[in-house]
Homo-oligomer: 434 residues x 2
C-alpha cells in the first residue's frame, strides 16, 4: 500500500517535507511507502526549491482536500484562513490531518478534534509546537504513565534570541529587536512573538495534552518582553538569574479551587536551572511528573528542517497506524494519538498564584524610603528577601526588591499601595521569579 | 477488553510499575484497561511495598510465561538468566514483551527480535536505556524522518555522579566511589558502571535503533573512568572542559570504509556544550540528524519512578497497538515499534577515528624536553594545540598536551614512540576531547 499525501503549502516547511520524502534513504522504512500526490500553493508563479512533474502543483487548494485519491492532508501553509476551512473540509472528506499550524489548533482545536472524532480520522500536530522537539509525542505516549504536574518551557525562539543577545551584549530591547528583524529572526510585525501570543498558543496546546482538558486561549495570563531593559538584565545577573520568556502550566497549588495555572511572562530563572543555559533560537521544555520526576527536551523550535522532521514523523505515525488497523482510525488510537478530551479546564486566575517577585523602582534618594517601602509591603503580607539600592542621579535612587514567595493578589495590592508613597517616582519593571 | 500483564520481578522497578497501575487517575486513559494478573518473584518471603490478594504472587516464574490468560509479560527482574530464557519462552507462547533489561537486549537482542518476528509479538525496551528519558520512542518514531548522524550521551548515572563530585570537590576517584557505594549510587561490585560496560550496552541499543543495524557488543571500544584523577579534573577545568563518561555513536567520517563508529570513554567536554552541565545521576542524550539538527533529552536515567514510567508507557503502547489491530502484531508495526533490522553494522575500528587528545605526562624538568615531545608528535603528524607545564617536585614536571584533531592511529604511534624518550617518566592519562 502506498499512502498518498496532499500537501497544502510549499514554503520553507513544505519544501523541507518534500525534500525528506524525495530522499528516504537511511530514514524510517515507511517513508518509502509515502507519496506526495498533489501540492496546493497560493501562487504558481513563485519559484520553488524542489522539482515536481507538471500538474502536481495547483492553486486550487479545495481540489486537494476533495481529492478521493488522497489519504492524508498535510497543512503547512500557516495562518488561520483558509487553513482552518481546508482542514475541516478534509476531515469531512475522511482525510487524516497533519498540521504545523499552532494558531489554528490553539484556537479551533475543539472544533477540529470533534470533527475528527466524528469522521474517524487522525489529527497530528507534533510540528505545531516547538518544531523538531518531540514533546507532543512524549506527552501523548512516552510520558503517558505519569501524572503530569507541570510544564515549563522556553517555547518562542524569537524572544529567546532577543533576550539572549540582551544578556550577552547589554543591549536594549528595541535595538536588539531591530537587529533580529534584519537577520530574519523576528517578523516585520513582531507582536505575535514579543507580546507572548505565540508562546500562549503553544503552552495552551501542551497544557491541553498534559492535563487532558481543553484550554480557552483567552484565559491564559500573558505578558511579553517589551518592558525588559538592560538595567533589569544587569540586575538579574547580579542576583544570579537570567531573564527568559517562559510558558508555564501546572496543576494549581491553590487549595480553595481545583484548577490549572497557565501563564506566559518574562521570568527570572536561576542561573543553575536547566532552562537558564538555553540560548538563541533554541527551545526547551521541562516536564515534571509523578513518578518520573523531571525530563527536559531541547532543540530547534522552528526552521524548515526541524518542522519538516516533525511533520514527516506525524505522517509516518498515521501510515503505521493505518497499516496496523483494518478498521480505519479507532477511538482507542485517537485516545493515544489525538486529543480526545472534551471538557474545558478551569484555569486558576493569576490573582491566585503564589510566586516570588522582582521589582525595580525609582524613588527619591532620601532617608526613610526603604523603611516606607518595607512597611507598605509588610502591610500586605509581602515578605521581602532582598533589597538593593543604587544611587542614580538627580536625587533619585534605583531600588531592587526581591520578595519571598507571596500571593499575587497581596503583591498587586502592595504595588497599588506603593504608588501612593510621595517618595516613589515610578515602578518600571515587575518580573516574576521561577 | 482488559489486557492482562504478568510481571516478572517486584523489586524497586516492579513495585513502581504496580503502584502506577493501581493508581491510574490523571494518567493515560488506557491504564484503566490494564490489569496485573500475576507476579513472579524470586522469594515470597521478602517484604513488599505494594499489596496484592493472596495467590497473585508466585515463585514459579515459568508458570507466568506459560499462562494462557496473560497477554503481556513485563520483565523487570534484571540479570541475564533466568530473564533471557523467560523472555524467549514468553515469546514462543505468543506473549508481548516489555523489558527494562539492557544487558539481555544488548547481548541477545538478535535472538529475541528474530523470535518476536517469527511469533508476531512486540518487544518493547524504552526502560532498558536511560530509564525515564523517552529516547527509544523518539528514535523509533518522532525522529524517524531524520537520517541520524550521531548520538552522544551521558548514559550512566553512577559514573556521572562520581565525576560530578570529583569536579565539585576535587576528590579522587577511589574515595568518591566508596562514598557513592555507601550512599547507594554505586553497586558493591562497581565494574559494570565504572568500567563502561553498562554504557556500552546502552549505546549499542541506541546505535542499533539510530542506524538500523545490529551491533556486536564486543566490537565497541570501551574505557572506564578509573584512571581519572583530581589532577586531570583540575587541568580540564583550567582548559575550559569538564570530564564526562560519554557513549558516542556516529556514522564514520572515515572515507575509505563505510561504517559506524561506536565508543565509550571518558571525554573532555567543552564547558559550553549542552552535556557539560548535566550533573549527578542525571542522564542526557544528544541526537544529531538531518534535517533536524540537534535535539537533547535529559532526565533521570535510573530509579524506580523513572524506569517504571517507561515500562508502563511501553505497556500502554502495546495495548494501544493491539486495540487498533485485529490481526495481532503486524510486521508493519514491528517496523515502527520494534527493532526489525537483521544485518550487522560494520563498526569502524578505533584506530580509524579522528579526534583531539588530552595527554598528561610526567617528564624530567630540564631544558629541551618540550622540544623533544614536540618533535616526536610532529614525526607522527600529530599537531599540537596547547602545551602547559607545571613544575612539580624531585626534578619532574607535569606536562599537559592538547592535540589538534588527529588520527587515532598516528596518535597512538606517537605515544608509543614517546615512551622511548629518556626524559619521560610516565604518561598517567590520555583522554579524548569531544
Amino acid at each position: 500500500m502506498t499512502c498518498k499525501v496532499g500537501l497544502l503549502g510549499l514554503g520553507t516547511v513544505g519544501t523541507g517535507v518534500a525534500k525528506i520524502l524525495q530522499d528516504p534513504v537511511d530514514r524510517h522504512p515507511l517513508l518509502q511507502e509515502i507519496e506526495i500526490a498533489r501540492i496546493g500553493v497560493r501562487s504558481l508563479l513563485k519559484p520553488r526549491d524542489v522539482e515536481f512533474p507538471d500538474g502536481y502543483i495547483t492553486e486550487d487548494l479545495q481540489s486537494i482536500v476533495a481529492d478521493p485519491e488522497i489519504d492524508i492532508v498535510v497543512e503547512v501553509m500557516g495562518g488561520i484562513e483558509p487553513a482552518k476551512r481546508l482542514i475541516l473540509t478534509a476531515i469531512a472528506n475522511g482525510k487524516h490531518i497533519v498540521t504545523a499550524n499552532k494558531a489554528v489548533i490553539a484556537r479551533y482545536g475543539d472544533e477540529i478534534f470533534t470533527a475528527a472524532k466524528e469522521h474517524g480520522v487522525y489529527v497530528m500536530l507534533e510540528a505545531a509546537v516547538c518544531g523538531g522537539i518531540p514533546v507532543i509525542q512524549a506527552l501523548k505516549q512516552s510520558l503517558g504513565a505519569n501524572r503530569i504536574t507541570g510544564i515549563t518551557g522556553i517555547i518562542n525562539g524569537t524572544t529567546n534570541y532577543i533576550l539572549s543577545r540582551m544578556h550577552a551584549e547589554g543591549a536594549e530591547f528595541e535595538n536588539t529587536l531591530e537587529d533580529a528583524q534584519r537577520l530574519g529572526y523576528a517578523e516585520a510585525d513582531p507582536t505575535a512573538d514579543v507580546d507572548g501570543f505565540d508562546a500562549a498558543d503553544k503552552i495552551a496546546i501542551l497544557a491541553s495534552l498534559a492535563f487532558g482538558d481543553r484550554i480557552k486561549l483567552d484565559d491564559i495570563y500573558r505578558e511579553g518582553i517589551r518592558t525588559i531593559t538592560s538595567a533589569d538584565i544587569a540586575w538579574a545577573k547580579d542576583l544570579g538569574f537570567v531573564i527568559k520568556l517562559l510558558g508555564i502550566a501546572r496543576r494549581s497549588n491553590d487549595k480553595t479551587e481545583k484548577g490549572i495555572e497557565i501563564r506566559v511572562h518574562p521570568t527570572l530563572v536561576p542561573q543553575t536551572h536547566p532552562l537558564a543555559s538555553i540560548n538563541g533560537v533554541t527551545n526547551a521544555i521541562r516536564v515534571e511528573g509523578d513518578p518520573i520526576g523531571e525530563v527536559v527536551f531541547s532543540g530547534p523550535g522552528a526552521g524548515s528542517g526541524a518542522t519538516a522532521s516533525a511533520v514527516v514523523a506525524d505522517i509516518v505515525n498515521v501510515v503505521a497506524a493505518l497499516k496496523a488497523s483494518s478498521k480505519g482510525a479507532s477511538n482507542e488510537i485517537n485516545q493515544l494519538m489525538g486529543c480526545s478530551h472534551d471538557r474545558y479546564a478551569t484555569l486558576s486566575p493569576i490573582q491566585n498564584i503564589a510566586t516570588q517577585y522582582y521589582v525595580r523602582l525609582i524613588a527619591q534618594d532620601k532617608p526613610g524610603v526603604i523603611g516606607d517601602l518595607g512597611a507598605c509591603f509588610g502591610k500586605h503580607l509581602v515578605s521581602i528577601q532582598t533589597i538593593l539600592q543604587r544611587n542614580i542621579h538627580d536625587g533619585f535612587a534605583e531600588i531592587i526588591v526581591v520578595t519571598q514567595t507571596v500571593s499575587e493578589q497581596n503583591f498587586q495590592a502592595a504595588i497599588a499601595d506603593l504608588k501612593n508613597l510621595a517618595a516613589l517616582h515610578s515602578i518600571p519593571t515587575l518580573i516574576r521569579v521561577l
